[in-house]
């Protein structure tokens, strides 16, 4: 394993120390693995908390700031955070208007956030939860843990964050988050497996001419393998998989063409060019946002936007990983 780390057991805290050194506008607590907006809690504003396993940077810690998250809880690599962290974050951002938890649909994340929400209720903090489950590679049935939360998380966080910034009430902020999730679908393809610092070797072996189709962002393999094909075919495969599961998402779309960590921007742009021929792009974002450590690969997220979603997507945001507007 070749990585810029000191000790496989202490990667997350040390990376957060780097985030702290770079971003004085954030309150970073490397020990408890929390990232909080410097000006939180904001009186009367819904606080927005997300979190999950580390290894997906800039998600979530890099998306804390005005217009997006108020706090993020970083778990160990690919491991959801614990309730204590989530409660601490919830407390830190409660400005009296309640707190929204944005949770990716994985058993671990769901259970830990649930426990935290119970504990927060004991402290009389009102918590609502938006569950993100956009990954159409997983069948949404009682035979699975349900669809995973992936790329749409970023869009939910951006849009809900913008509405919260306008001082909308908790119910509305939660509702727009759910609306974005319902109108979103994602699909990922990996060319290599991720290597966690703890395991020290790739999570799965992938022959030199094969790709994992419908892969997850936690190093888990996909539903099937196939020969590596052209970018044109990969784009078609991803778009079709999404539209088959959730028809209509290709219209009026916010398109996130996301790198999984090890794929260079030149390939992502090339792939986006192919995707753009197949859907109606209203807004686009191309780059490494919801990553899986060093995995080479890409995910496509389509969000069938409406005017309100577009307006909130365009609203200013100022975080380490995403910034635009004034």
């Amino acid at each position: 394993m070749k990585k810029f780390i000191n000790d496989p057991g202490d990667v997350v805290a040390q990376a957060l120390a780097g985030l702290a050194a770079a971003h004085a506008e954030l309150r970073v607590d490397p020990e408890n693995q929390l990232v909080v907006r410097g000006d939180a809690p904001i009186r009367g504003k819904v606080g927005i908390v997300s979190g999950g396993g580390s290894g997906h940077e800039p998600l979530h810690g890099g998306l804390v700031g005005p217009g997006m998250l108020d706090a993020a809880c970083a778990g160990e690599v690919f491991t959801s955070p614990v309730p204590d962290q989530i409660v601490a974050a919830t407390r830190a951002v409660d400005g009296g208007a309640g707190v929204l938890h944005i949770v990716k649909n994985y058993t671990g994340d769901v259970l830990n956030f649930e426990m935290a929400a119970d504990l927060a209720a004991d402290e009389k903090i009102t918590v609502e939860t938006v569950l993100v489950n956009d990954d159409v590679a997983v069948e949404d049935s009682t035979w699975t843990a349900g669809r995973r939360g992936t790329g749409a998380t970023l869009i939910v966080e951006k849009v809900a964050g913008a509405l919260a910034e306008e001082r909308a009430p908790l119910a509305d902020v939660a509702a727009i988050g759910r609306r974005v999730n319902e109108r979103s679908g994602s699909f990922a393809v990996a060319l290599t497996a991720a290597t966690t610092p703890a395991a020290g070797q790739p999570g799965f072996d992938l022959p030199d001419d094969e790709m994992e189709v419908g892969v997850g962002i936690h190093g888990e393999p996909g539903r099937r393998r196939s020969k590596v094909t052209s970018a044109r075919e990969v784009a078609a495969l991803m778009v079709e998989a999404i539209l088959e599961a959730k028809p209509g998402l290709g219209d009026n779309a916010i398109v996130l063409l996301n790198g999984l960590g090890g794929t260079p921007l030149i390939e992502l742009y090339l792939l986006f060019g192919e995707v753009s021929k197949l859907v109606t792009v209203r807004r686009s974002l191309i780059g490494n946002y919801v990553t899986s450590l060093d995995m080479a690969g890409a995910s496509l997220t389509l969000c069938h936007a409406d005017d309100e979603i577009l307006r909130l997507w365009d609203a200013p945001v100022r975080t380490p990983g995403l910034r635009w507007g004034s």
Binding site: W143, A145, A198, G203
Partner: protein
């Protein structure tokens, strides 16, 4: 009333034995989790039980339940992932059920059932879904009928038998049919918990 089979010190020994087994088998658990999950189950439990060991050191326990409740709470606050809340809740439920300094086999058997119930309530898994339930359920039943050695054997067999199952809960469910042919990491760590109980 049956014979006392576990006191506070023996409860501590049980937890210490789990910690030792988890430490020794962490790589196996991680390897199993790499195949059908995200490759962290060994690291998760190692981190959790190391924290439990620290937490119990110098901790004043009056009852068997105190030890188990502390174990559960520590797992919840240190592990994360799916297994943290599940095992944490199981130990908390067992702790709640064992309110004396010495417990009988019947009481421990009921507590193991309570632990199972907590896992099932929180995680919603059915038997056959290829989870820790598939080891814990037969183990708890065997404990009641035939004691700790039988429970350890039943847990081990339950874990092995998950190999043929298709996962319907947890990360392994994402793989659909590809999950068949691999042993479930959580069921495997449950087997360690029951081996530790039997002193094997």
């Amino acid at each position: 009333m049956g014979v006392m089979i576990m006191n506070v010190d023996q409860a501590r020994d049980w937890i210490a034995a789990i910690a030792a087994k988890v430490e020794a088998d962490a790589e196996t658990l991680t390897r199993l989790d790499s195949a059908i999950g995200d490759g962290d189950h060994g690291a998760n439990l190692k981190r959790g039980f190391a924290a439990v060991t620290l937490a119990l050191d110098g901790f004043e326990a009056e009852t068997v339940g105190d030890v188990l409740t502390k174990t559960g709470a520590t797992l919840i606050s240190k592990v994360g992932g799916a297994s943290g809340p599940l095992y944490g809740s199981a130990f908390r439920a067992m702790g709640k059920a064992l309110t004396s300094a010495d417990v009988t086999r019947e009481q421990l058997g009921d507590a193991l059932e309570a632990g199972l119930a907590a896992i099932r309530k929180l995680g919603g898994a059915q038997p056959g879904d290829k989870t820790m339930v598939d080891a814990w359920l037969p183990a708890a039943a065997a404990f009641k009928s035939s004691g700790a050695l039988a429970a350890a054997a039943a847990a081990a067999k339950g874990a092995e038998d998950t190999t043929g199952l298709q996962a319907r809960k947890g990360r392994a469910s994402y793989l659909g049919e590809r999950s068949v042919g691999h042993q479930d990491p959580g069921a495997t760590s449950t087997a360690l918990i029951f081996q530790a109980l039997a002193g094997t």
